[in-house]
């Protein structure tokens, strides 16, 4: 049901369930049983049908199922879900359809069904190739289980796979991070994401390490309820110090570049042509619709999001919070999202959109950070982007782009 005259749209579906919460995770997800998942998916399909009716002028270019752990869905559940999408929306025949996948939750047979249902890109949340580190994070899988799942995915025909990695983990050394990087790259995925662990408020790690990341303790009692008994009792080592953390971070870019992965966003690396189209929609401020619990949308400078409370969502998914983005907000977002990409923000595109050069609006800030070496202006292409040093402290700089 594709149509060239329709406007492009990214579709996000949220699956807020996992086997158990990881200790660093502050995403909207929670452990569940089969019945709960089934009821939720029924509700989600109703939402897809109803929203689809309102988006007949759009064509789904990318689809992304995030969570939680979407791979907790049975093959049949996923197939029904995607059938509902196709029945309700116009979809591009060359769309990028991604699904997040937790190693240790799936097998070759299920993956084959996923593939047949229309998923053509998998995103594996591996985080580390070191089983000790995985245990400290509260992950439910081992490196070996990942390898089995990954190879199965290749066998059943997935040709576009991402692996998520995390550095600066409890107990991690530069050597073990290097090992993880090398081993992950050896699988030859098309895409890699590498984040530094962020200690988020409201997570067990926050209670353990605090905002200043300094804690080091036996965590009996603090996260004993984090899940499986014998892991909950483990003593969790300290986070790497700042010097090691920076070393890991800089190593990442170098190693991945050597292996043929180019950084195209602060934490994202890909082989040429395999940049994640769906994520680029967010950074380039194109239209996307998010469905499911707490999912966020932006369509035509209208931002809205579904309720985050499960009971409310199950009761009435049509309620959402909406905000119209004025010119100021649009300009700010163009900068703070666009600069995340290595390509930066094009002044020509900016001027076309806002009738003013970004220098007219941000002249002082841009000049200041260029003179300090944190921003770079590429005159031939008319693009403003972070320098290597600027990327390290991007937040600090981006906050100055709020007007």
């Amino acid at each position: 049901m594709a149509d060239k005259n329709k406007r492009p749209l990214g579709l996000y579906l949220h699956f807020p369930f996992c086997v158990r919460k990881c200790r660093y995770c502050d995403f909207l997800s929670f452990p569940s049983d089969e019945v709960g998942r089934e009821i939720y998916l029924e509700r989600l399909k109703e939402e897809i049908k109803a929203r689809g009716a309102a988006y007949q002028d759009y064509n789904i270019e990318t689809l992304f199922i995030g969570g939680g752990t979407p791979s907790l869905m049975t093959g049949q559940q996923l197939t029904e879900l995607l059938d509902t999408v196709r029945a309700s929306f116009h979809v591009s025949p060359v769309g990028e359809w991604t699904m997040e996948c937790n190693p240790g939750t799936t097998d070759a047979e299920t993956l084959r069904i996923y593939r047949n249902a229309g998923i053509n890109r998998l995103s594996f949340g591996l985080q580390s190739m070191n089983d000790e580190e995985l245990k400290y994070l509260g992950r439910i899988h081992t490196a070996k289980q990942f390898a089995e799942n990954y190879q199965a995915a290749r066998r059943v025909g997935f040709e576009n796979i991402n692996i998520d990695l995390m550095s600066a983990l409890p107990g991690q050394t530069t050597a073990s991070w290097l090992d993880t990087l090398n081993k992950a790259a050896a699988f030859e995925p098309e895409h890699l994401s590498a984040y530094s662990l962020i200690i988020e408020e409201g997570t067990p790690f926050w209670d353990l390490y605090g905002e200043d990341r300094s804690g080091e303790a036996d965590v009996d009692g603090i996260i004993a309820d984090g899940g499986a008994g014998q892991q909950g009792k483990a003593a969790i080592p300290a986070l790497p110090d700042e010097d090691s953390e920076r070393q890991m971070y800089h190593l990442t870019k170098r190693i991945l570049a050597e292996k043929g992965y180019e950084r195209y966003e602060i934490s994202n690396y890909a082989r040429k042509g395999f940049e994640c189209r769906h994520n680029l929609i967010y950074w380039q401020r194109k239209d996307y619709l998010g469905l499911g619990l707490g999912a966020a949308s932006m369509v035509g400078n209208r931002r809205f999001s579904n309720v985050s409370d499960m009971t409310s969502y199950m009761h009435d998914w049509s309620y959402c919070q909406e905000e119209i983005l004025d010119r100021k907000a649009q300009i700010e977002e163009t900068m703070f999202l666009g600069l995340r990409c290595t390509a930066g923000v094009s002044d020509r595109v900016f001027t076309e959109k806002f009738g003013q050069s970004m220098m007219d609006i941000y002249g002082d800030i841009i000049r200041k950070y260029i003179s300090e070496g944190f921003l770079v202006f590429h005159p031939s292409e008319g693009r403003l982007a972070f320098s290597e040093a600027g990327t390290d402290i991007s937040n600090w700089i981006l906050s100055d782009f709020l007007l």
Binding site: G10, Y12, H14, F27, F64, G66, Y195, S196, I198, E242, E245, R246, Y249, I266, S267, N279, I281, Y282, W283, Y288, G290, A295, A296, S297, M298, R303, S305, E323, E332, E333, F336, L337, E372, F374, T391, D392, I393, S394, N395, W396, L398, S399, D400, L402
Partner: protein, 603 residues
């Protein structure tokens, strides 16, 4: 309406802080039916929000009460409430001058304290008859007999028949009311002599102008009386006279000798009606003013700056309004390289400073940056000139200075004997000169010290409290100036002198303070894009250094499934944080760093 002087009693209540002064005032008002308990808001006399919250009296207040005594007669009681803190000693003394007697409230558990003594001496100085009352007899730890002998031994006044009460529970308040008739003398003064009235307070009212509170010593004042303020020379035609109901002004025809009341005369400026001045009849003036008027000089100065530079006019307006009600507040514009436009403000003491600061923030909704408080130093220059220095930044070049003097106070510290050692150590550290010690009883002593004022304006109260587990009490008065070895300590952030952080310090403590200051600032200044040296210097000599390391990482993680609002919130929070900082050179210094000088002794 004529009231017989013999039926009037003008008195105040004096007490150490927390001994129950305001509660007793409330009970007296309640018992005499001036207000029903239903109308009664706790502590009627403390009518500023801040006063109620802190449980202290800042402004003097007065109330007229009619008491029907057991002898069948009706008496008029004028109760004049006085500020209870040393900072407001001058205001206290003016209030006392309007009275004929004082009720001394002493806590039945704690007994005589430093401010009890200070207040009693002040009352005796004004020839007031002092009537002791033992309060809080309901406390389990109350020991009224001990306190009675303490009052008799330490203060030397008869206390055997002192009413033993619980103001909180309303116990034996009648005894107090009855005893006032006997123990507090009736006023005297010739009603037919020329007008002579003492101003003990004034407040600004937006509708009526300044409302002047006074006690008529001689003569009479009525609506239409043309009055002259003897010290300022200002003349006004009286628009209204009256007395004080609870929480309201009640106009009357005339006030005559012995009475306490107020007047209005469309007076626009509080400065024309100084507390302590004498009001007389402009057409029939008295020969000489009542003694006691003196100009109060601020003891402590600091810079007040709006956190948001654009709020400067708001701050000026707010200070103007506060000064209408507080003539002892002094301010003049000043500028700081680090903080921009603001005001150098003078206060009676540190509590006064805190109160003004809090009122500005609360009542006027201003976000303030306060610089370290400074006392007034006297600088004797080589050219024979003497200047009074209120802002460390204005200190002349050391080569121009012959010598410097700093203000010294006489301090009395009352402490239980267990803590004499620690308190002596504290006073020693603060350059105190020990003058002597008196034992009040076997377990308590009164220690006398001379201390430099600049050693007690920072955190002396806190240190005193913590080293005595809260048992020490403290009172001081300015003694005079003494020569001292002082120097100006400058703070350099990223090699730039931050004027708002400079302070004057005793030479012998300079190294220690400089080091602590650098350590404190290192904690307060967040990491920035480059390394920031923090140095303390005397002249061109660096005496301490710390370094704030450069920020190395500040990256936002994942995209949260397109939840951009969340990302925006993070950035906004960061931007807010930056806003609360002051740009000095290319370093951002958080506002609270400017206040950190105050808390160097905190662990």
């Amino acid at each position: 309406m004529h009231i017989d002087q013999s039926k009037i009693r003008n008195f105040c209540i004096i007490a150490h802080i927390d001994h129950g002064k305001s509660t007793l005032a409330d009970r007296i008002i309640e018992k005499t039916g001036t207000l029903t308990s239903r109308e009664m808001q706790a502590q009627v006399l403390d009518n500023m929000e801040l006063e109620r919250e802190r449980g202290i009296t800042i402004k003097s207040q007065a109330v007229r009460i009619v008491y029907k005594a057991k002898d069948g007669e009706e008496y008029i009681y004028n109760l004049i409430d006085t500020p209870g803190h040393v900072d407001f000693n001058y205001e206290v003394s003016r209030s006392l001058a309007a009275c004929d007697g004082a009720i001394l409230v002493v806590d039945a558990a704690q007994g005589v304290e430093a401010q009890t003594l200070a207040n009693v001496y002040l009352a005796l100085d004004h020839d007031l008859d002092v009537m002791p009352v033992i309060n809080k007899i309901d406390l389990p730890s109350a020991d009224p007999d001990r306190v009675v002998s303490e009052i008799e031994d330490v203060i030397g006044i008869e206390a055997e028949d002192a009413p033993r009460i619980s103001a909180k529970n309303g116990l034996n308040i009648e005894d107090v009311l009855e005893q006032i008739i006997v123990k507090i003398p009736a006023p005297t003064g010739d009603e037919n002599a020329p007008l002579k009235a003492l101003i003990f307070d004034s407040v600004y009212d937006p509708y009526k102008g300044v409302i002047v509170f006074f006690r008529v010593r001689e003569g009479r004042i009525a609506k239409g009386t043309k009055v002259r303020m003897m010290a300022t020379g200002a003349e006004f035609e009286t628009v209204e006279v009256g007395y004080f109901g609870a929480g309201q002004y009640i106009p009357c025809d005339e006030l005559s000798a012995g009475m306490v009341g107020y007047m209005t005369a469309s007076i626009k400026n509080l400065k024309e009606t100084r507390v302590g001045d004498t009001i007389t009849d402009a057409e029939n003036p008295c020969a000489e003013a009542l003694p006691g008027y003196k100009k109060v000089n601020p003891m402590v100065y600091c810079g007040l700056y709006p956190a948001d530079g654009a709020k400067y006019p708001d701050l000026r307006d707010a200070l103007e309004k506060l000064q209408l009600n507080d003539a002892s507040l002094y301010y003049e514009p000043e500028t700081s390289v680090a903080l921009g436009f603001g005001f150098r403000c003078g206060f009676l003491g540190l509590l006064h400073l805190e109160i003004i600061q809090e009122r500005l923030e609360r009542e006027y909704n201003l976000d303030l940056v306060t610089t370290a408080p400074s006392v007034v130093y006297r600088i004797h220059k080589t050219n024979g000139e003497m200047i009074e220095l209120t802002n460390p930044s204005n200190m002349p070049d050391p080569s121009e200075i012959e010598y410097m003097e700093e203000p010294i106070v006489s301090a009395e510290i009352m402490v239980t004997t267990d803590f004499i050692g620690p308190i002596m150590d504290l006073c020693q550290e603060r350059r105190g000169v020990y003058l002597g010690m008196e034992y009040i009883e076997t377990t308590r002593a009164l220690m006398k010290y001379e201390l430099p004022l600049n050693e007690i304006i920072y955190d002396f109260f806190d240190a005193l409290k913590s080293r005595s587990r809260g048992y020490a009490s403290f009172d001081y008065e300015l003694k005079g100036y003494e020569r001292s070895e002082l120097c100006k300590l400058d703070i350099l952030v990223n090699r730039e002198n931050v004027d708002a952080l400079s302070f004057i310090v005793f030479e012998g403590s300079a190294y220690e303070r400089g080091r602590k200051m650098c350590e404190k600032l290192k904690e307060e200044i967040p990491r920035q894009l480059f390394e920031i040296p923090i140095q303390a210097a005397i002249g061109s000599k660096i005496i301490a250094r710390e370094t704030v390391r450069a920020m190395r990482k500040d990256v936002l993680a994942k995209c949260y499934g397109g939840d951009i609002s969340r990302k925006r919130k993070l950035l906004e929070k960061q931007k807010e944080g930056k806003k609360r900082m002051r740009q000095v050179g290319n370093v951002e210094i958080p506002q609270k760093a400017f206040m950190s000088v105050l808390k160097l002794d905190e662990k």
